[in-house]
């Protein structure tokens, strides 16, 4: 479930950086935000929607080992998105075989026609 809580950075007496739970605004991506931007990415695919809801552990980790680059974050977010889609929409190989056979059977008789030939080539 999505969380409405994040972590705020605090300095510990040990000199390390820690995090305490704190309420935060929920990450919301409006369709209009995508429609009005120049990005061709579909809804949910923008890095901000994928990486905005990082956990406190990750945030603290970034403080300790450094932030990842934007391409790294994009790839990480994209992979997470694809993995999530794959888990929600599993492929059934038997269903694919059935539909492939059905479509092949129904479309086998459809004619193909050349549009043109290069000059000098026989039709």
């Amino acid at each position: 479930m999505p969380s409405d809580f994040g972590f705020a950075f605090v300095g510990l007496m040990s000199g390390q950086v820690g995090g305490v739970p704190t309420a935060r605004a929920r990450q919301v991506l409006g369709y209009s935000e995508v429609a009005s931007s120049e990005t061709p990415l579909p809804v949910g695919f923008r890095p901000v929607s994928l990486l905005g809801a990082r956990t406190g552990t990750l945030l603290v980790g970034e403080r300790l080992v450094g932030k990842s680059s934007e391409p790294e974050r994009l790839v990480t977010g994209s992979l997470r998105y694809v993995e999530a889609i794959a888990s929600a929409l599993p492929i059934d190989k038997e269903d694919e075989r059935i539909i492939d056979e059905l479509m092949a059977k129904r479309t086998a008789g459809r004619a193909t026609r050349p549009l043109r030939r290069r000059e000098g080539e026989p039709l």
Binding site: P2, D95, E96, I98, I99, M103, P114
Partner: protein, 197 residues
């Protein structure tokens, strides 16, 4: 409710999207509510175009044939689905001239299709085609699939504006569109089995 200029209310985070997809594929209402708008049930016409729209366009399917030359494949249904992003239609022709369609193909009369075949289509468990419920009285007796393997680039002016040649037939509801978008991602990101055990 969607605000002005928005097609649908905001999509929440990834977890919410995944939960929504799981609910959609197991929900019998999806097929009944697949289209939020149908031409044959409305007197209101739309002039804009969105991803997932079903169109009638009198064109065969352009392809490259086995000799490397351009050709066409018969497409008697003349039905197409828009898979290009909706935001492409907000851009000028100079910046984004092309969008993408896939043909919607009849896989046969429902009386000829076996229950096994029909269930395989309706479960959305196969990546290469996308089951499209009937969008008009004329299509109610047939099983239709959008064929993701035959994408076609089309000049946007064919679909909208004064020179348009296509007729909008139906527009998806939000649930169907979320499912279509996820199926497109699944198609493009599917693995090739090289790491299968």
């Amino acid at each position: 409710m969607a605000g002005e200029g928005e097609r649908w209310p905001p999509v929440y985070d990834l977890d919410g999207l995944v939960d929504e997809i799981k609910e959609l594929t197991g929900d019998e209402r999806l097929e009944r509510e697949f289209f939020g708008w149908r031409l044959d049930r409305s007197v209101v016409c739309h002039n804009d175009i969105c991803q997932g729209d079903v169109l009638l366009l009198d064109s065969e399917v352009p392809v490259i044939l086995d000799d490397g030359q351009p050709g066409t494949v018969d497409h008697p249904e003349r039905a197409w689905m828009v898979i290009g992003n909706t935001c492409d239609f907000d851009r000028s022709i100079e910046h984004a001239r092309w969008t993408q369609l896939v043909p919607i193909v009849s896989a046969g009369n429902l009386g000829e299709v076996t229950p096994t075949e029909l269930n395989a289509a309706r479960r959305y468990t196969q990546a290469r085609r996308f089951y499209v419920p009937p969008w008009s009285l004329e299509t109610e007796a047939q099983l239709h699939m959008a064929d993701f393997l035959l994408p076609v680039a089309v000049d946007k002016r064919v679909l909208q504006g004064d020179r348009r040649k296509a007729t909008l037939q139906a527009r998806m509801g939000r649930g169907a569109w979320v499912l279509l978008n996820a199926c497109l991602v699944r198609l493009l990101a599917r693995d090739d089995g090289r790491y299968d055990e």
